[in-house]
Structure formats: structure tokens, C-alpha cells
Symmetry: D2
Subunit: 420 residues, 4 copies
């Protein structure tokens, strides 16, 4: 049987804001128009960062157009779309590499908002979620650690939080803390017990003992605030800094994980489509050996492969988003498949678009080479392709083992597989 | 924007029979149980055909279990599921290579039933659809012709039908007329005017002048009745043999095309899943170099790749089926993408399952090598991978050209692609 | 540094028979002509076996043309080519699936002859090698065993030979004993001591206690004599049945292994080229959408990919053959890489040729679907792709570890890799 | 038959300098040591250019070690290796991205030297070749033009040279003139007659009317002197500026083409090997889920695939180099296959090495992301993968057509392909 079973009803706010097909179409069109007319003309040159004043101006325009924070409850200033209606909107935003930042649905803030909305106390929501949602603050997420700490294997978590008289004292080091340079606060994971027992903390970046110790220069440009190392040196936080309840950090991480992976897929799929459009425009304009490039089979091969990659990615994303809304656990499992497929497919699409544009594709006359650099890390972060494959294979083996088990418990159980 | 817009309401019968999520789950489980408990034990050995008496016994069991003809209106004895609810049921049926024949949802009958239900006159439905739906007759579809006739390029159609005093006279030759050896009638496409003008005829196989002239031996075994050549030598048919209206054959072919392609994907996906299960069972039982095969990374690579192929196929199929129900034209376009992706992905899954089973995988101890032969032709029939890619690339180029056109018609239109 | 160093001089007979470039060209042309004019017209229909009387007639013609047993010393009736000159000759022979049998350079006899020539005593050569070389006898090789015995992991060897008063007594079971049904004798590997200590025996098939217990039906047709199970039940053999010396079986297996793997690559590459030629002929003759198929880019993509696969395979084969002649150990290591690459590439070439031929490609109008079945097992036997990859990765890691070791032993050793 | 026939004897200088296997091994070892001990420690940080004073110091060291200009005749200060002995030396040099510049065997100078040595007059050799070979000057090659001029299709050449009283007057524009910013002279191709009739000119960069009009910023860093546009505005040159003879430019381009493509393969293969070594070092040092990364199957899959890509590339390169030395035309054809295969394979190797290094792989802690940017353009320049595939497919079709032709001219000619 296929993964699907609805285990819990979606929260009522979701339903209140759920759009009809026609309303959603209308919203997506408005995002597309906004990206094309307002955001794309303001894009920085390839390899450059978006300047903050420009960003803030664009964000003001997005608010004015009521397109800001599409995934956040209207209570905090967002549009409040249910998860199953994010894909087309996020893809439309991602058609510009700066679109998601402008619409305030970029990582890591977007995932943090989603998690805060589900887990934080009312007071924490007011203090941390609302400024994020309204674009008055930014945040980072502190999970990954320098080797041999938490990376692909979260059980290696080595940052610790110990009880003090007045709350907790955190020690450790995080790396690839995307956004930390600009962030007002970090949601930091620290071990608070046995292996696998962890707590999430809301820690303002200016808390004494918290230092950005090293900038990591990576090939991407679109996550505001870089990917630095952050050190915790006897960082004291009060009990109220615990996000949700203590010792449930690993469980909360799962709440964040599935949607956060999938929104990356949605956004980068928009960039893949942008690349394909750039290549299609070029292939239409260029002639080679006497005919238009887009009428030549070897170019059509590239174009068609990319169309297929885009449509397959879109289908997996939509199905996973719907499933996540219905059943977070089943959805998180499927999001692992979607993440591998989409990150690889999106990379291929952009790579082919470069090939279709020839020499221009690797020069700054076109943004494509930088797009390739933007999505290269996506095959690694949020679980590398190989880590996910390992997990996918193990889940498949266990699922099949359970099926065999059930079969054998039946009176006339038999192997379905073999012919003998 | 993404293909989606609902253009017409689905027919009321669909809605009458539409299942809730829980009801559909229940139906799918019943199909799975029936396949496992009743069908699989009766499968012929690899490379052998299902014998007709066994088939008929199994069909009687399927009827008794109320699982027969899931896609046909209850009026004609089927279950009457709307198209968007076929995928999981057909996949469950396809878990056995003979499952679809047993449940009477195998090509070419299934596509013929679907087309007849949409297009035929009430009298034609009674005469041709009802016996098909109830499993009292079988049929074939006459479209493909020997080179240089209709193949990937339907405009090459060379079989003709000419008006006579009493109806029409058909001349020509069809090949790959799957099922013809067992069929009571053929739905035959013949040219009745200019290039591209064609009519569909319902022709009983025993009509004078109609001869099976040559058997084609292919590598697959599951389509009852082979893939022979059929010759029309002054075959006279009355006006009532015209399916629907004259000269609308190409249009009707489109009605058949999208769903017929997609149901192949659904059924063969079931076989891919079967193969993966056989491989998982084997990988669990075998040890190599001191550890269980399914715990070794190079096996896990194969297992995971297949899981990803299965889930991506499933997602594309479900999205396409939903779209076909809402908007046949948009759905048919997407079915072209789904057909390429799924036929290639399903082949890869079965190929990997052989690799996981080692020497047994290419022997008759396991059915996998025959499964590979079953699905190899699927990358060719219903439009080869290359023909579809060509069409997909052309559609992408035209879609983008229309977008550019719209942009330039706007006052401040600008190229979204280039950075300069 | 690259693998190459010549460790031992090739045997003098090799040099005596080494052809100049022009002489080798002439020989290859003669093989090509013989295959085209004599062998191809006598090929059995797809899926059928070559009948023995036809085989013997063709072999007589090959002898008359002085093309028989190209790899065997002229002393035993062969041509006596050195290993580095086999590739083009074997490829030319493999252009017909029955070519290698006709020229007496087909597995398993060819590998057995090569090993006997290197290892057997003069008396054993007279008794076993000479009849093989002259085509008066055939043989099989008994290594693989039913699970959990020797397969990908030879240390699992479970067939044993124990000393008796008059020689040895062998017990155990072999499977995939290719050629056993027709063979006069088997070269059988049996454990004669600790794990990893084994001896090779020359055992006539009619020795009491030796029984063919089960036929395995596989998808290939070209290895005469099938792939049955062979049981040893207290099989007594004299001391003179020991091939070479006792307890050196594993070492001798290495002598056979490298060349035997590589000659498979050579022969099947010929069949890949045949498939490509069939597809090129078809693509030249067919028109689609108004132009010749071989002028359409999506067909050209397939054609070019296959050309590249063929040339890359050919290059790897030639380099490996040259290396095997100079340094058997280094050559055997590289043969592992060649085996994976060529078996996968050859399969792809034949698969693409089917795609280029459309519906005919999967029917018996063309032999291509059967060719695909011939080469499918090659990705599994002689070490599956996955087993070889595992070994290749381990060798790479160890090679690099040795390099690091050497570096660190130098006074100013430094990491060459990292930038910090 | 396989491409091979030796048509001309290699020039005598080649033979004079041809090394024995042992001598070549020794030379390769010396290059490897020099790269490791002298060059790698002086590499610039990822994304930075090599500074000229450092370059010149390193070049002095290379000269002192007698490793400078390995491909140039000893007459001009080089080592004078014959082409078939370049591959291992160039690969060893390319192990550092700056190695080839240091050894003075980097594009475009290397290809220019090779062509000058074959074609230039004695006076031109003295004036242009000698300073290049001794590292006293640098050069560029002016072939590619802005669209719709010469690119993948050289017949589009639009730069013209017209006869004047005192010589020739050149007008036009070149782009991707790699190295132009630092060059003392350009070898420029200009049309001097009908379509396809062209002449090569040796033009000092300071000739009046010659201007660098635009810098193109691309993702690679290792070709000294960027890839700018160069404009010719009534540039007057004397008759002695004609390289070789007038109107033979296209023919001369072929002389440069084959080896120049192939030396790119050789050099970048060295960088692929470097990447693999970096990844192997990392995989050895890292543990994940309780075992060393290089012992995990999903890492081994990546490692093995890269080993296979490296060995297959090496084999194709060596075979092509040998063929180029024997038969320039056949070698140039095969170099087209080698270029496609190697450029794609090398890219994959570096891409996998990034994946093996996780987050570090896309950061400046390792040079790998920059390496990927170095080789991305190689899939485009010197003929894109798609252009080569088109040419390869056409050559295959024509070769097969000639074979059919020959067959039909024979008395009993028959189709070898079909079974009927």
C-alpha cells in the first residue's frame, strides 16, 4: 500500500486560509507578475550579494502587494496558506534567486517560522515568531557541528546544555550556521541527556559567550548572512529559552525537517525553471549549421530531459506536501525521496541550460553558472544524497520485512516473490 | 504557471462512484489481497502464456470479489472509479503480470472500453462495450501500420476507407495489432479524406476480407493474443460500424491516448514494485563478505535508486491522472512526460532487481528476466521515448515563445532571462 | 603513477607469433570476411541454439581458413597470438554471436585453454589441452556454488577434496557450470585446507559420483551446454588429476581470471558493434516526420552515445590486454575496471540499438532483443558490477593510503590535497 | 576494422627523443615529485589567479629541473617528447591546476607551439615559436567569434583579411580569445576567399587597429589572461605574417585541433585525479554512523565510479595520442570521441569528490568547488559535447554507408544485419 493515511486533521487555521483552485491560481499569477516586474529588475549581478537596503525596499513592495510570508498564519502578518498549497507559490517565488528572501519564505527563517508556529509558547511566538514573520528580524538554526559532531548523523551531537540554578549553560560549536551573521537569534540544538536526548533553545545572538568564530566561504550567494561557525562558551540562558519542552529537541527537529527540505525543493525548482526559460530563449535566437537551435535534436534532447525533470520534481513535491499536511511522519519519509530526486534533477536542469547556451553559459553574460553554484550545495545540505539513499534503502528493507512478517503470521502465508 | 486549470466538470457518473480516501484504501487493500492470495499462485512459469481456462477461472473469482473492470461504469458491470482513482488500483493489479488481465483492466481492452464509453452510440455500447466489460469478448486496436505507414507519425496513415453504396470499404494493413488473435472485433483507424482526416470503425474480426497475415514474435508475454499483422482486403462495413462520427478519428484517438498511456504506467509500476520486493526478499536472505546483502552500501544504492524511481513515477502518474480528469488536453500533454519517465524508470527498477539477485536474476528460478522482457517494449510502443522527447521539447519551445510574445505585448515588457 | 611496469618478459612463443601492425590488420580482415561470408549466413534464428553438426561444419571451415583457436600456441594447432593482439581478433569473431564458438575462442573453453597452457604438466597438456585446442573436446569450469558457497566471495568455497590412499575424494556441488552438458571434463576448484586454500582438479565428466543434477534455464543462448548444477558425491581422482600443484588453486584462478574477463569484453564488444550496425542500417532506411532517421538529432544522440561507448570500451580493452601481457597482477586489477565498464557499456549499446529500431527491435524480425538477453548476464557473471565496484573502491583507498604513508615518511611530507 | 592504419612515419625528431618505457616512467615520476614538492605549495587560494612573479619563479624551477616544455623540440628548449608520450606527463602536470602553466604546456600556448612547429617558416619559428617555448612570451588563438560568426560551425567565419599593396588588412571581431590580455601575439583565422577558405595570421597584439574591447568573466581561473573580445579594425599585416601558406587556414586548424583537444583531456585528467585523492584522504579520515567513510558502500559507489571514469579516460587518451602520431586524420576523428568522453567523465569525477567531502566540498576549505568551475567550460569549448555528438553520429552513419556500398558491389553481397 502507498503512503497516505491521514492521521490527524490539519489545524483549523489552515482550513480557514485554504484557497480554491481558482483562488490559488490567482495568487500564483500575482506572485509570478511580482517576481517578473519588481524583483527580477532588482537582482544583483551574478556572484554578488543582494544589498540590504534593496532587500528591504523589495520587501516593502511585497508587503504592499500582500505577498509577504505566504506560509505564516495571518495572525502574524502572513498569508496563512496550508502546506499543500505552498508548492506553486514557493516555486513562483524561486523563479528569482532573491524572490524567496523578498517574500520572506527563504531558509532558514522560513523553516524556523514554521517550527515556532507549531511548537513555541504564546510568549515565544510574540517575541521570536512575530518579528521574523513581519521581516523585522532574522534567525539561524544551529544543528550542524564540526566533525566529528552532528552532521549527517544527528546522534553525534556534541554541543551540551547543562542545568544551572537560573536555567541552562550551553557549550559547544556549530558550523554551517546559515544566516548567523545577520541573525538576531539562533534556534540551537544541544544535548541534554543520553545520546539522542536533546533540547532546542532560542538564543539571542548577543548573549554573552556566543561568538562567530569563523566565516566559511561557499559557492552560493543567496542565503543572507553566510554560513559561519558559532561558538558557545558557557552561554547562560533562562528556562524560558527552551523552545517547547525540554528533551524533545529531536522530535521537534522532525517537525522542521520534512517541510524545510521540501521548501528548498520548491524554491530551487523555480530557479531550474528560470534556467530552462533562459536556455529556451537562447535556443530560439541562435542558429547553427543552418537551423534554429531549438529545432535541432541534440538540443531538443536537453530541453526534453529538463522538462521531464521539472515535471517529475513538481509531482513529487506536490504529493509530498499534501502528505505532510495529512501525516507528518509519512510525509517526512517521502520528503527524503523528494529531496534526493529534486536536488539532483534541479542541478541537472541548470547544468543542461548552461550547455544549451554554450560559451555564454559559463560567462557572466548569463547568470547560469552562478545558479549552478547556488544549487550545488543543496545536494549536500539537509542530508546529502548518499545519506538519504542509505536511509531510503533501510526503510524499504524494513517495510518489506514487516510485510513478510505479516504474511507469515497468516495461516496459509506464502512468499509472493519467487516462482518456486 | 503550472498546468492544472479544470476546464470541464467530470461526468456525473464519476462523482457518483468517487470513493472517499478511506473507501479507496479499502478497495486497494482488497485488490492487493486478491492478487496475493488468488492470482499469484496461478501465475504461469516465466516465458509461458496464461492459459485461457485458468484466466477465465480467475476472472470469475475477480467478479465474485467485485473487483472486475474497476474503470468501467457500473452500468456495464464495472466498479466505475473516476480516472483520478485508477492509479493505486491499477498498480495493485499490476503487481502480478497477469493481474490486469484477470481484473479486465489490461491493454488493449481497457483503453478500448474507456473510449467506447466516451464516444460510442448507445447501440454500439450495448453491442461492443458491454461484452468487453463483462469479459465475454476481447478486442484489439488497429492503428500502427508497416513502414512507411502510421507509426510514430500518425499522419502517415495509409489504410483507407471509401464510401460505398451500403457503407464503407476498408483496404490496408495493420501491424502490432495487439490482441488480434483472440479478439472478437477491432477498432480500426482508416483515412477517409485529406491527410489527417480519419475515421474509426468497429470491425468484427470475422468480417470477410479481414485476415491475420503474420504473427510477430516479441519478447513480452502478457498481452493475450500476440501482436500480429492484420490485412484489410476490400472489407465492407455498414455505416453503423463508424465509431462516433465519421472523420473525427484523430480527435477520438486523443481521447484514448492520454489515459491508455497512463494506465500502462500504472500497471507496469505494479510490476516494478513486485521486482523490488523480490529483490528485497533476496537481499535480506543472502550474506556476502560477512554481512547481509541489504546492509551493504552497493546494494543499498540499487535499492534506494529504485525506491526513488518508484515514488517519482507514482507521483507523476497520480498528478497526470488527476489532470486528465479535469482537463483532457493538458492531461494528455503531461501524460507524454509521464510515459517517458515511467517507462524508463520501471525498466531501471526491474533491471536493478536482477542485479540484486545475481545469477538467479537471469535464470528461471526468478521471474525477473522475463519481467524485463515484458517492459522493454513499453519504452517503444505508445510513442517511443525519443518521439515523446521530441514532442516535449517542441511544446516547451512553443510555450516559452507564447510567454515571450505576451511579455512583448505589455508596455514595459522585458527579457527576464539575461543579466544584460 | 599509472599502472604499467613490465615485471616479466612475455614467453618466447608469444614473441615468435607476434604480428606486425600490417600482419595483424590482415588477420583481422580475414576474420571479418570469414564471419560475414561464412558464419553469419549460418546463424540460428533468435532464441535458438546452434546445432552441433552446423557448428562442426563451420569449425572445419575455420580450420581450413587457418583462423581456428587464435589464442592457442601453434604447437597445439592454434595461431599463437600474444595476449595484446587478441582484442581486435576476438572482437571481429564476436561480430556474430556464434563466431567465437566457430573460431574456438569462446568461454569457458578459451579461458581453460589459456590456463592449461600456463599451468598444466606436459602430460596434462597432451591429454586435456590438445583435444580442446583442436576442437575435439569441450570443457567446463567448476567454481561457483549454490548459496552460501563460493560466488562473488571465493573464500566461501565449500566443495572439498580430501586425501585418499590413491589420490583425492571430492564432495560438493557446483552451479552455473557453463558448458557442463557437453563437456568431456571439468576444471574443478575444491578446498584442500584452511579457508582460502584450494586445489584445481581435472575431472572427466564421466567419473563415477559426478552428476548433473539440475538444468538452469537462463536468458542467454550462446554458451554451448547450458549452465547446470553438478554434484560431486565421493568422486575419486588420482594425484595426476591435480592441475599444476596442490593448494595453489586460488593463485591459478588469478591466472585465468584477468584474461577470461577481458576476452568476454572483446567478444561482446563485437556483438555491440553488430547491433550498432543493424541500427545504423535501419536508421538510414527509415524516414520519420519527413527526414531520414539517422539525420534526426534524437537518433544521433543514441548513435553517438553508442560510438563513444564502443571506442571507450575498445581503448580500455586494448590497454588492459597490453598490461596483462606485461604484468599479470596489474593487468588483473585493471581488468576489473574494464569488466565493469565494458559490460555496462555493451549492454547500453545494444539497448540503444533496439530503441533505434522501434517495434522491430523487440520482435524476431531483428536479433537485437536476443542480443540484449545474451549480454544481460555478463553484468553479473565473472564478478557482478557491484562486486567489482566494491573491490575497485577498496583498492583505490589502499593505494592512496600507501601514497600518504610514503609521503609522511619523507622529511618534509605534506598533505597534497587540502588548501589548509 | 578499427581505426589505426599508420599513414605516415612520425618525424625523425620524435624518434630521437622517444623514451623507453623505463625512461618515460622516470620522467613521469620526476614531474610528479616536482608538482608535489614545488608547485602545490605555491598554489593560489581557490578562486584566485596565480600571480605572475610567482609563476615566473616556478617556471625557473621547472627549467632548472629540465621539465619545461615537454612537448616542444629540444631545438627550441623543450624536451621533445613524441605525441604518444605526452599523456602521462601532461596528466602529472595537471595534478595541480597551475602545473601546466609552470611546465609551459598549458593552452593556448601549447597548441600554438605544436602548430608553429609543424607549419611555420624557419623565420617564424625563430620569431614566434622560440620565445613561446622558452617562456619569454605568451600567445592567444583567434578563432571563435561573436554570434553569428564562427563558433561550433567554423564555416560561419566572418573576420576577413583582404589583400593590400603591402600585405593584408584584417577586419572583424574575435571572442573567447583566451590569454589575450597577456599575449604578445595572436594566431588569427580570417576569411580570405570563398566560404571555407581562410588564412592564419601571426599578429602582434600591439599592431595598430587591434583592441581588446571587452573582458568576459567566466567561472574558470587557470587560463592566464582571461577570455576577452578582440577587435580588428583595419589591421595591416605584412605577407610574412601569413602562417605557412595563404588559404590553408582550415587545413592548419585541423593540425592544431586534434592534439589541442586531447592535451586538455590529459591535463584535466590530472586534476580529476587530484580531486579523487582529496576525496580519498577525506573519506579515510571521516567516520559516519560508526564506520570509516571509505568503508561505506555508498561512498565506495562514488569512489569506484570515479576510478572507472579515470581509467577509461586514460585509455582513450593514450589510444588517441598514439593514433594521432601515426595518422593525424584518424586520430583527429577519435579525438572527438575522447574529448566528449573525457570532459564529461572528468566533470563527474570532480563532482563526486565534492559529494564525498560533504559541506567542506562546497566551501573554500577545499579547492574542489573551484575545480568544478575550472572544468565546467571544457564541456563547451573546443566543440561542445552536443556538437561533437552530432559529428560522431554523422561519421558513424557515413562509415556504415560506405561498408554497405562495398558489400553491394561484391557479387554475393548480403545484409549482415537483419535475420530476414
Amino acid at each position: 500500500m502507498i503512503q497516505k493515511a491521514p492521521r490527524r486533521e490539519p489545524p483549523s487555521d489552515d482550513d480557514a486560509n485554504r484557497r480554491s483552485r481558482a483562488e490559488l491560481d490567482h495568487l500564483v499569477h500575482r506572485v509570478e507578475d511580482f517576481i517578473r516586474d519588481v524583483v527580477i529588475p532588482a537582482e544583483p549581478a551574478p556572484g554578488q550579494y543582494l544589498e540590504l537596503p534593496v532587500r528591504d525596499e523589495l520587501r516593502a513592495a511585497a508587503k504592499a502587494a500582500r505577498l509577504f510570508a505566504p506560509h505564516v498564519s495571518s495572525k502574524w502578518g502572513g498569508i496563512g496558506l496550508p502546506l499543500s498549497q505552498w508548492p506553486e507559490v514557493f516555486e513562483a517565488a524561486g523563479y528569482s534567486p532573491i524572490g524567496p528572501v523578498v517574500l520572506n519564505c527563504m531558509a532558514p527563517d522560513e523553516g524556523n517560522m514554521h517550527m515556532l508556529e507549531q511548537i513555541a509558547t504564546p510568549e515565544q511566538k510574540r517575541q521570536f515568531l512575530e518579528p521574523l514573520a513581519r521581516g523585522h528580524a532574522s534567525s539561524c538554526f544551529g544543528m550542524t557541528e564540526p566533525h566529528p559532531g552532528a552532521g549527517s548523523d544527528p546522534s553525534q551531537l556534541s554541543t551540551t546544555a547543562e542545568r544551572s540554578s537560573s536555567g541552562w549553560v550551553i557549550n559547544g560549536e556549530k558550523r554551517f550556521s546559515s544566516g548567523a551573521n545577520l541573525a538576531e537569534f539562533m534556534i540551537a540544538m544541544a544535548r541534554t541527556g543520553e545520546v539522542g536526548e536533546a533540547t532546542m533553545f532560542l538564543v539571542p545572538m548577543d548573549t554573552p559567550g556566543m561568538t562567530i568564530t569563523r566565516q566559511i566561504n561557499t559557492v552560493d550567494r543567496v542565503i543572507d548572512g553566510g554560513h559561519p561557525h558559532v561558538e558557545f562558551n558557557n552561554v547562560s540562558v533562562p528556562d524560558s529559552a527552551v523552545l517547547g519542552e525540554p528533551h524533545r529537541g529531536m522530535e521537534y527537529a522532525q517537525v522542521r525537517l520534512g517541510p524545510a527540505r521540501l521548501t528548498h525543493c520548491m524554491r530551487w525548482l523555480g530557479l531550474a525553471r528560470r534556467s530552462q526559460d533562459i536556455a529556451l530563449d537562447r535556443a530560439h535566437d541562435r542558429s547553427l549549421f543552418g537551423s534554429r537551435l531549438d529545432e535541432q535534436g541534440l538540443a531538443q534532447e536537453l530541453i526534453a530531459q529538463s522538462e521531464i525533470d521539472i515535471e517529475a520534481s513538481r509531482s513529487l513535491i506536490q504529493r509530498t506536501a499534501t502528505l505532510l499536511e495529512e501525516d507528518n511522519r509519512a510525509g517526512t519519509r517521502l520528503s527524503s525521496v523528494a529531496k534526493v530526486f529534486c536536488s539532483e534533477a534541479i542541478y541537472r536542469v541548470i547544468d543542461r541550460s548552461i550547455q544549451l547556451c554554450g560559451g555564454d553559459g559559463v560567462s557572466d553574460d548569463l547568470p547560469l553558472a552562478q545558479y549552478l553554484n547556488e544549487v550545488r550545495p543543496f545536494r549536500i545540505y539537509d542530508g546529502s544524497t548518499e545519506t538519504h539513499k542509505w536511509a531510503i534503502a533501510r526503510r524499504a528493507s524494513r517495510r518489506r520485512a514487516r510485510e513478510r512478517q505479516r504474511r507469515h503470521e497468516q495461516p496459509d502465508g506464502q512468499e509472493s516473490g519467487s516462482t518456486k
